[in-house]
């Protein structure tokens, strides 16, 4: 009460109580004694807070939320009344019920914060149990479970699900924030099936024991495969054919062949047989030359570009290799499972 003596003006106490009540969020309490204690605390009637809170705590079926508020009011009130032992005792009970609850260091007085820290140092609890939402390929990563011990102790972590085997992990004497990992494998080293699981952390130091649990959901889904490539991802194919300029080669060839045959016919015919026949060679020669002429007028056939053909062949081989790699990778992916972790609202401690 030293600070009240020093700062005794009532406006200060009223402000403190207002701040504390705001920090507690004490609205809509169901239990009448807890509500009465709250009203007395807000009215700075500290002597009335204690019996009301005690009456509430004596009720065996008092809801945990009310019990937490009652212990907190007791702790604050004993702190204000300078009853340090009782304040620490109330805070210890509060910490067992809600180890993650902390007085707002900005809104409550340093004295109360100090008493709370003193109580925290006297008990063994697991605080700040956190499992982050995450998605990863099963077997490639482990699920981190973060927590902190209020004071040094050993921890055993168990993971259990409905009808599923538990996996046990443990760590020696630790202090402060710690991370334990679970690889989502069961005792047969198989990925656990989808479902709701629970991490149970058992802390122990000497005779002090504390256990808390945190639930989360494991969901499975197939890993996305890589699509098959229909074209090279980095390079485009080149045209394998090119359109040559029009030329008169067909006419030239037809004329050459016709001249050869006609010349041979004229030169080698047997003159003793009289006037030689001309109609056959004439008709066919005409057809051959006309064919060559027409083919010369026609747009030439595209011709292959050897360099481009070779380049495209190399691209096709590279594409086939890429697709083979992708197929092998997809084969692996089809055997994999994408695991999603979704933490559920926290469970209690004991």
């Amino acid at each position: 009460m030293w600070w009240i003596v020093v700062l005794s003006p009532k406006p200060v106490l009223a402000y403190i109580c207002f701040v504390v009540s705001s920090a507690l969020g004490l609205t809509g309490q169901q239990d009448a004694d807890v509500a009465r204690a709250q009203e007395a605390y807000e009215a700075l009637d500290f002597r009335s807070v204690i019996p009301a809170a005690r009456r509430a705590l004596a009720k065996p079926n008092l809801p945990v939320a009310d019990r937490i508020v009652a212990y907190e009011l007791l702790g604050f009130t004993y702190g204000v009344l300078d009853s340090n032992v009782q304040a620490v005792d109330a805070f210890r009970s509060l910490i067992f019920l809600d180890p993650d609850r902390e007085p707002d260091a900005i809104r409550v007085t340093p004295r109360i914060t100090s008493l709370y820290a003193s109580a925290l140092g006297q008990v063994l609890v697991v605080r700040g149990v956190r499992i982050d939402s995450s998605t990863f390929i099963g077997g490639s990563m482990a699920l981190p479970v973060r927590f902190a011990l209020s004071r040094p102790g050993s921890v055993v972590m168990r993971v259990q699900g409905e009808g599923h085997r538990a996996r046990v992990d443990s760590i020696g004497v630790v202090d402060g924030e710690t991370i334990l990992h679970w690889d989502l494998m069961d005792l047969d080293s198989l990925l656990v099936p989808p479902g709701t699981y629970e991490v149970v952390l058992d802390a122990r130091f000497g005779a002090d024991r504390y256990s808390t649990r945190k639930s989360f959901v494991v969901r499975h889904q197939p890993v996305d495969t890589i699509p098959h490539l229909s074209s090279h991802p980095d390079r485009d194919t080149l045209p394998e054919l090119t359109q040559p300029d029009r030329d008169w080669k067909p006419l030239g060839l037809a004329t050459l062949y016709t001249a050869f045959a006609s010349g041979a016919s004229l030169a080698l015919e047997n003159t003793t047989l009289g006037s030689p026949a001309r109609r056959e060679i004439g008709g066919v020669a005409f057809v051959a030359i006309v064919t060559g002429f027409v083919m010369s007028l026609k747009k030439p056939d595209p011709i292959p570009v050897p360099g481009n053909v070779l380049y495209n062949q190399l691209l096709r081989e590279d594409l086939a290799r890429l697709n083979a790699d992708r197929a092998a990778e997809n084969e692996v992916k089809r055997r994999q499972t994408l695991v999603t972790i979704v933490p559920l609202p926290r469970g209690g401690g004991s």
Binding site: K249, P250, L253, A254, Y257, T258, F260, A261, S262, A264, S265, L268, E269, N270, T272, L273, G274, S275, P276, A277, R279, E280, I281, G283, V284, A285, V287, A288, T291, G292, V294, M295, K298, P300, D301
Partner: protein, 209 residues
């Protein structure tokens, strides 16, 4: 040999299509012939029809043809007669444009002795050049060693050559062609020259598979 023999030949040739061929082509031709024998006074012209089959596989080519024409002699007092001819050629492509060709043939005359029946073998070359994917021209020339005649005798010189042009679809399914064949055989009988010369043109269509 009567014309009725050609269907038999065709059936026989069709059975060859079981050979592992890259191209099988059947052809039907219209034929025009100028046939000269002995002297200039015995010129004869005729027309008829024919057909054949052509197989191409790898570097090999086999060509079998037959035709029959009715000859109408210019000379007075000579009756018309039938002239039928069978030719078989086998070629092996030595280069892109040149093939070695061997084969044989026989010409039948009906009625017998209206003209000389001839049997011959041939050794020569064949050159085909594609003008583009649709058309090609070709020439062939062959020496005919030791031809045989129905009337006896021999030949000091016998050869033939040909010119052809064809145009068709790019896939080779249909093809029109025109071809000229010249054959000269300097026959001698009893040390008397009785030469034979034939100019033949054919035009037709071929269907390929």
């Amino acid at each position: 040999m009567k014309c009725g023999a050609f269907p038999v030949l065709g059936v026989g040739l069709l059975s060859v299509t079981s050979v592992e061929a890259q191209t099988v082509r059947f052809r039907a031709d219209a034929i025009a012939v100028t046939y000269q024998e002995i002297s200039g006074t015995r010129d004869a012209v005729g027309a008829g029809g024919g057909g054949g089959i052509e197989l191409r596989f790898g570097k090999f080519q086999i060509d079998a043809r037959a035709h029959s024409v009715m000859i109408d002699p210019d000379s007075t007092g000579l009756a018309t007669y039938d002239l039928a001819q069978i030719d078989v050629r086998g070629a092996y492509r030595l280069t892109e444009f040149l093939s070695l060709e061997v084969g044989g043939g026989r010409r039948y005359v009906s009625p017998e002795f209206a003209a000389q029946g001839v049997g011959y073998t041939r050794v020569g070359v064949y050159s085909e050049n594609a003008l583009n994917r649709l058309a090609s021209v070709w020439v062939r020339g062959a020496f005919l060693p030791s031809p045989r005649f129905s009337g006896g005798g021999d030949a000091e010189l016998a050869f033939e050559f040909a010119l052809g042009a064809g145009i068709g679809t790019a896939n080779g399914r249909f093809r029109f062609h025109a071809e000229y064949e010249f054959q000269r055989i300097d026959r001698r009988a009893n040390d008397i020259g009785v030469p034979i010369q034939q100019s033949l043109s054919r035009a037709g269509i071929a269907i390929g598979f």
